[in-house]
Symmetry: D2
Subunit: 282 residues, 4 copies
């Protein structure tokens, strides 16, 4: 129900990724073609890494397409790893504390999709969040709960394992409460060095997820494109919906898999959910 | 570029007109089918008459589809004559002072369309506003200027004449500055007793405008519809885009004409622009 | 940390209570003299009863002193029982879902004060909320938790008992977690018929709370004041800080007591907290 | 009616100037001691120069004291010349287009004070703005008009002359319309290289204005203060109200004078208004 973008590579102005391309993310806020809804106007957020200890985040409840502050910031903030997210709310309020990306220390987390029948499963999920992390939850969005569950399950040590256990819990609780397909979506996570991007749904019909091909390949395909010579050879975009006007620039991430980009060490791997070993005691 | 609705009849909850119908105005804020854009998410406003000396207005910069306050107010405010407007901004900022309907004393004014090349003609138009009215202009929207021009030209005495002279001035200034089609749109005006609704464009291809047929006719067509028995026989909706699921309920207002509803004395008349008698001295 | 007002009596325009009096609630949003802070600029809310099944609520994150919509609504909404609240946030975000009054069915609830060290006790309090009510919690404010605890403890049957048990639980959990004075504040509750107003703090130094004297007494004191003849003989204001310029118009509600107004059956009673019979099993 | 700050020197995080000092600007948004009002809660803005062709600006209608985005940005944006402004509105709406600093090309402009009886003089002032600049005016604040008048009068070539002529016009129009003291305030202007700061009022009782002493002097006074060794020897703060806890750190700018800082070429000069040579023909 949302659209998002992650960039890793040599530092660029955020506007180069957010506004410049054809069918850019900001354009998708009004006219998404692959999203569940064409309009993603229920707030947005950006998160970016720089030389500070923690990434910066900027959240707004305005539609991205007419937010003058976002335009200004994107034209002045340069980063080598950043996230951007435009929201189409389903149920939860349009307020900054529900805007992605969410942050904890060095970590950013964003999501396109949903926890099905959240009202039914929310209490059990919240109870599984580590007590020391619980007071940090500020909003009411399903994604924030997913983030704090993943942190509870060791996100900072092993992101794929923590996400697998998080979705495993969501499915276990959901199925116990009679929810047919408890999880849907794509998730992006970063620690400032790499981006992990997951594609999974309980139904096996997941929201879309795309990665740019490697820059040397793209330079061969489009030698006249300046942007491809400005960015480093290891630059990558991960997106919920392709943008730009370069056919052949994108690889779709397959169902039930995840990609890792950054540090020149890109990977694409199968993703398997890990159900809780034992029932969660409530 | 916007969508709007005006109601005149026996008092009803605003929500009956704004939320209840199929393809309601609030639904049109996300999914307009006849508008220039499907999305009208750049703020909204309502204006309603009650027993107070002046109508109330409520303006918001949130998209109407997720504004909780609008939902509350529409479920608690009852009125026998009200306006509602959802905005798709073109150029001017998303701020409450640019939201329709605009108010002056007993009068409300709203608009769907634009003054073409506003930056080119704005100064000349502003100069034509009566000096005593000038300080009341609070925003930067073309519609507010149209309203204060119409007040300058005698809106409170003869609305059709004042609108004809207003658009006449817009066309004269526009043509002088090289604008091919200076005015486009539909305008709704009320003094709390009647609604005047205008359809006109310099190009002769105006934004759409519709009036409900009279209630007795509709009751014959749809005898089982409760709402048609709740409202008075003289109730009318004027809209920029039909809503509801009653085929045959709407009459399109023809090009270059205006309708008047209220006081049981409905009219449909041709509309002719009145150019300024002499050039405006600047 | 906030200021609030409750009115019960013959229907009046909200502006008569919110804007007209000297040192009005809106004035207190900038210049409170008895509050913990002079400024209460972190959003506000109103709630009012009319002929609809549920009271209306309007929440805003703007400071009340410059909110044009509040001014409009207060000038057009008439009610015989309404609440208004201006917020000075401590810790939780300035967002509509944290604004008072909170609503559940026919019930409104607002508060001036705090649950001490909320982060420490929040999880245990949330766990005590009835599972069926839990999904309704939308914000992160301590007051909303108090409200849902009170609903869990039978607010709709016996408000003083439910509030006594709610604060009893807050104190029990707080003391168990090493919080010296777990609760502070005044609380106002209504079902549309009566207003219950509580004054209590664990420390025994509670936020202020005042009730107007009965109208016949005030008419004797100030026979020339029109407003006293406009409102009914049983009209009452309950406030966290006196307003107006009528010395002798207010009775302070004593420490550890509560008042009930409405239905011509006003009461002032001692308030005693009820600790949980047994420890809450977590 | 507002408070502001300008910094010029070696690049620092904005938070070092906005949040860190005792009685910081953000603290002054709630508790100004020298301002006309203690509260400056009607929005705020920052403007900063970096390697981009134009300075960045960020405007918000939230009170600065609780704006999470401002806190984030100030913790991530580094600049060697920046402005910050907190607003206490008098009359004009709280909207982003009324927030300082205003920008035109490389220039930033902000103001604490007012044009007296703006409604009376506004039309004549607007008419004096160059026709080519007129369409750029987006808000309704007196300060924005002052800025565009100054640009009309050659701000980009000679700031002190342009400001002298701007205030000269304001006084001429005001006096002609019967306004006793047409102008009040302090103004800060920058082109990214230097800051010009003006203190003037028609009454001769101007809003306060202060400049930090030179850094070497401050280092002698407070050798243990780290910040004084972090910033360059030519660093300066210009403020409407002193902050920090370093007695002796500030020089008050005298009545009817202006200071220039930057490029190691600081000046303090008398300021004289320049009345229009001839009456403005309207």
């Amino acid at each position: 129900m949302c659209r998002w973008l992650g960039y890793s590579g040599s530092p660029v102005l955020l506007s180069r990724a957010l506004y410049t391309p054809a069918h850019s993310l900001i354009d998708q806020s009004l006219h998404s073609t692959l999203g569940a809804e064409p309009t993603n106007g229920d707030g947005f957020g950006i998160g970016w890494y720089d030389e500070q200890p923690e990434p910066g985040v900027f959240h707004s409840i305005e539609p991205a397409w007419n937010d003058q502050n976002l335009r200004e910031l994107a034209g002045h903030i340069t980063s080598g790893l950043f996230f951007a997210h435009i929201r189409a709310a389903i149920g939860s309020a349009v307020q900054q504390t529900n805007c992605h990306p969410f942050r904890h220390g060095r970590w950013l987390f964003m999501h396109n999709g949903y926890v099905a029948e959240l009202a039914t499963v929310k209490r059990d999920l919240i109870l599984a969040v580590d007590e020391s992390l619980y007071p940090e939850i500020k909003g009411q969005a399903d994604t924030e709960i997913l983030f704090y569950l993943a942190l509870t399950f060791g996100l900072e040590d092993d992101p794929p394992d923590a996400v697998a256990r998080t979705i495993g819990l969501v499915e276990e609780v959901g199925h116990r409460k009679g929810v047919q397909y408890p999880f849907q979506g794509t998730i992006a996570i970063s620690d400032g060095g790499r981006i992990w991007a997951f594609r999974y749904s309980s139904e096996g019909k997941s929201r879309s997820l795309f990665l740019t091909k490697d820059v040397p390949t793209l330079r061969n395909l489009y030698p006249e494109r300046e942007i491809l010579h400005e960015v480093s050879a290891d630059a990558r975009l991960v997106v919920s919906e392709p943008m730009g006007d370069l056919p052949g620039a994108w690889n779709e991430v397959p169902e039930s898999s995840y990609g890792v980009v950054g540090h020149g060490d890109d990977q694409l791997r199968p993703f398997e959910v890990k159900p809780p070993a034992a029932a969660i005691a409530v």
